[in-house]
C-alpha cells in the first residue's frame, strides 16, 4: 500500500504539472508546433533543423522552438499516462477491497488515454476552441481523480488521520459551493478564451483592448465570479486553520496552499486587468485555477473523512 501511496502522489503532482505545460503550449502559441500526431513532422523525435525533415513534408511551417514546446508536452503526457496506468494497475492489485481507490484510479487511466488521443484531434482540427477547452478540462478531471485516489490510499493506510480533526460545521458546504463555482469559473474562462480567439481571427489588428471590450458580458461574469472564488478560497482556508479542533497536517498544508493560491489568483486577475495580459500571467492564471479546483477537492474529501470518523 505504501508503494501505491507514493505512486499515486507522484501521479497527482505530475498531472498538475502536465496542466502547466499544456498551458505553456497554449500561451506560447505552440499548439500547431507539430502539425501531425503522434509524430512531429513525420518523426518520432522532432527535427532539430529543416534538413532533417522527411521528404514530402511542408517545411514552411517548421519552427524548431514551437515544435519542441509542443512535443515536450506530449512527452510529459506520455510519462504521466504511464504513471497513471501504473497507479491503476497497482490499485487493482493491491487495493481490490477498497473501491474508493481502484475505481477512480482505473477511471483516470482510461480517461488519460482518451485525453492523449483527443490531443491528436485538437491538432487535426487546427486548435478548434471547443476541443482545446475539452482537452484542458479532461486533464483537470484526470488530475482530480488521481489526487482523490492518492488521498483515499492515504486514509486507508492512516485510518486515524482525520479522526480528531474537528473541522468547523458547514465548512464542507462552503467547500462544495466554492468547488462548483471554481469549475463554472474554469468553464467560463474557456468561453472567454474562445470568444477572444474568434475576435482575434476576425480583426487581427484591432488590439487587446478592442478584443477584450468586444468579448461582452461573459467577461464581467468571469471577473466577478473570479473574485468570489478567490474570496471563498481564502475564507475556507482561514476557517479551517483557525476554527478546526486539530486539523490534520494534510489539511493544514492544503488550506495554506489554498489561501495563498487564492490571494495570488486575485492578484494575477487584477494585474491582468490593470497592467497587461502578459503571457506569463495568463499561464499562471490558468494553472492557479486548476490548483484551486484540486485543493478544494482535497479539503472536501478530508472534511468528509473526518465526518465519517465522527459518525
Amino acid at each position: 500500500m505504501k508503494a501505491l501511496r507514493k505512486l499515486s502522489v507522484t501521479s497527482a503532482v505530475m498531472s498538475f504539472l502536465l496542466i502547466f505545460t499544456g498551458g505553456l503550449v497554449r500561451v506560447s502559441g505552440a499548439g500547431l508546433g507539430c502539425p501531425d500526431w503522434p509524430k512531429c513532422f513525420g518523426r518520432w523525435l522532432p527535427p532539430i533543423s529543416v534538413d532533417q525533415l522527411p521528404p514530402g513534408i511542408d517545411a514552411s511551417q517548421f519552427n524548431l522552438t514551437l515544435a519542441w514546446i509542443e512535443y515536450g508536452n506530449r512527452i510529459l503526457g506520455m510519462v504521466v499516462g504511464l504513471l497513471v496506468l501504473a497507479t491503476a494497475v497497482l490499485a487493482v492489485l493491491q487495493a481490490k477491497r477498497w473501491k474508493q481507490i481502484w475505481v477512480p484510479a482505473v477511471f483516470a487511466a482510461v480517461l488519460i488515454a482518451y485525453i492523449g488521443w483527443q490531443g491528436g484531434q485538437v491538432v487535426a482540427a487546427a486548435l478548434e476552441p471547443l476541443l482545446v477547452s475539452a482537452h484542458m478540462i479532461g486533464a483537470l478531471l484526470v488530475a482530480s481523480l488521481v489526487l482523490y485516489t492518492a488521498q483515499q490510499a492515504h486514509y486507508v493506510g492512516h485510518p486515524e488521520a482525520e479522526a480528531d480533526s474537528g473541522y468547523p460545521r458547514k465548512v464542507s458546504r462552503w467547500i462544495a459551493v466554492a468547488w462548483g463555482a471554481a469549475l463554472v469559473q474554469s468553464a467560463l474562462g474557456t468561453q472567454v478564451r474562445s470568444a477572444l480567439k474568434m475576435l482575434m481571427d476576425a480583426k487581427p489588428l484591432a488590439g487587446e483592448n478592442v478584443w477584450l471590450n468586444a468579448v461582452g458580458p461573459i467577461r464581467h461574469v468571469h471577473e466577478t465570479l473570479g473574485l468570489i472564488v478567490a474570496g471563498l478560497a481564502v475564507h475556507i482556508a482561514v476557517k479551517l486553520l483557525r476554527r478546526s479542533k486539530q486539523a490534520s497536517p494534510l489539511v493544514v498544508q492544503a488550506a495554506w496552499a489554498l489561501g495563498i493560491v487564492g490571494v495570488l489568483q486575485f492578484l494575477l486577475g487584477v494585474s491582468m486587468l490593470v497592467v497587461s495580459y502578459a503571457d506569463i500571467l495568463k499561464l499562471f492564471h490558468l494553472w492557479g485555477a486548476s490548483l484551486i479546483v484540486g485543493l478544494l477537492l482535497m479539503l472536501y474529501v478530508a472534511v468528509r473523512q473526518n465526518r465519517k470518523g465522527e459518525a
Partner: protein, 220 residues
C-alpha cells in the same frame, strides 16, 4: 516544521516554473519573429482586372499574399477564395497588406471575367488584385519566381498562398486547403506588418507608382 517545508518546496517549484516558462515564452516569441526567407519575387508586370499594370513594383512597400487560381475551377479555388476573402475582410483596417490572385487560365479569365469574379468575392477596393498574363509568363512566375508547381494548367496550379514581405521577399507558404497553416497565417502576417524594413534603392518611385495605382483604382 513539516508545513513550512512543504510551503518552501511548493514556493521553490513555482519559482522554477516561473523562470522556466519565462525563458520558454521569450524563446517562442523570438522564434516566431524570425520568418525564413525563401527567395525574391522576380521582376514581372501583369495586368489587373481594371486593365492597369501590376507587378513586383506594386508589391514593394506592402506585405502581399499571392495565390494562383482560375475562375472556372470548382474544387480548390472556391476554398482558396473563401480563405483569401476572410483575410481580406479581417485585415481591412490595414492598407499595408494586399492580396494578389493570378489567373492560370487567361484563355477564359478575361479582364471582364476577373472583374466580375472580384465583385462576386466582395472586393470593393484596391487591396485585392486579380491579375492576367499569358500562360508562359504565369507558369514562369509560378515555377521560377514563387517556386510553386504549375503542371497541366489550369487544373495543376498550387493551392498554397505565398506570403511576401515589403521588400519583395517570399517569407512563408500556407496551404489554403489545410486548416493548420491557415490557423497561423494571421499571426505571421502581423509579424511581417510589424517587421522593420528598409526601402529599396528607388523607394520614392516604387511607392509613388503603387500609390498612384491605388488612387486610380479608387476613382474607378
Amino acid at each position: 516544521m513539516k508545513k513550512t517545508g512543504f510551503l518552501i518546496a511548493a514556493g521553490l517549484l513555482v519559482v522554477v516554473l516561473a523562470v522556466f516558462s519565462t525563458l520558454v515564452l521569450r524563446q517562442a516569441k523570438t522564434s516566431k519573429a524570425k520568418l525564413p526567407v525563401y527567395g525574391e519575387v522576380p521582376e514581372f508586370t501583369f495586368t489587373n482586372q481594371d486593365g492597369m499594370p501590376f507587378g513586383r513594383a506594386q508589391m514593394l512597400g506592402k506585405v502581399t499574399i499571392v495565390d494562383f487560381f482560375f475562375t472556372r475551377c470548382q474544387s480548390a479555388c472556391p476554398i482558396m477564395a473563401r480563405e483569401m476573402g476572410e483575410l481580406y475582410r479581417a485585415f481591412e483596417d490595414s492598407d499595408d497588406l494586399q492580396f494578389v490572385s493570378i489567373s492560370v487560365d487567361p484563355g477564359y479569365d478575361t479582364l471582364a471575367v476577373l472583374k466580375a469574379y472580384a465583385a462576386a468575392n466582395g472586393v470593393h477596393d484596391a487591396r485585392w488584385q486579380f491579375l492576367y498574363a499569358s500562360v508562359p509568363n504565369v507558369v514562369d512566375l509560378s515555377v521560377n519566381g514563387f517556386m510553386l508547381a504549375a503542371d497541366r494548367l489550369p487544373m495543376g496550379h498550387s493551392t498554397k498562398f505565398a506570403l511576401v514581405d515589403r521588400e519583395g521577399r517570399i517569407r512563408g507558404y500556407f496551404n489554403a486547403l489545410d486548416a493548420k497553416p491557415m490557423a497561423i497565417i494571421r499571426q505571421q502576417i502581423k509579424q511581417l506588418l510589424e517587421e522593420p524594413w528598409s526601402a529599396p534603392e528607388a523607394p520614392a518611385e516604387s511607392a509613388h507608382t503603387a500609390k498612384d495605382q491605388d488612387q486610380r483604382l479608387a476613382f474607378k
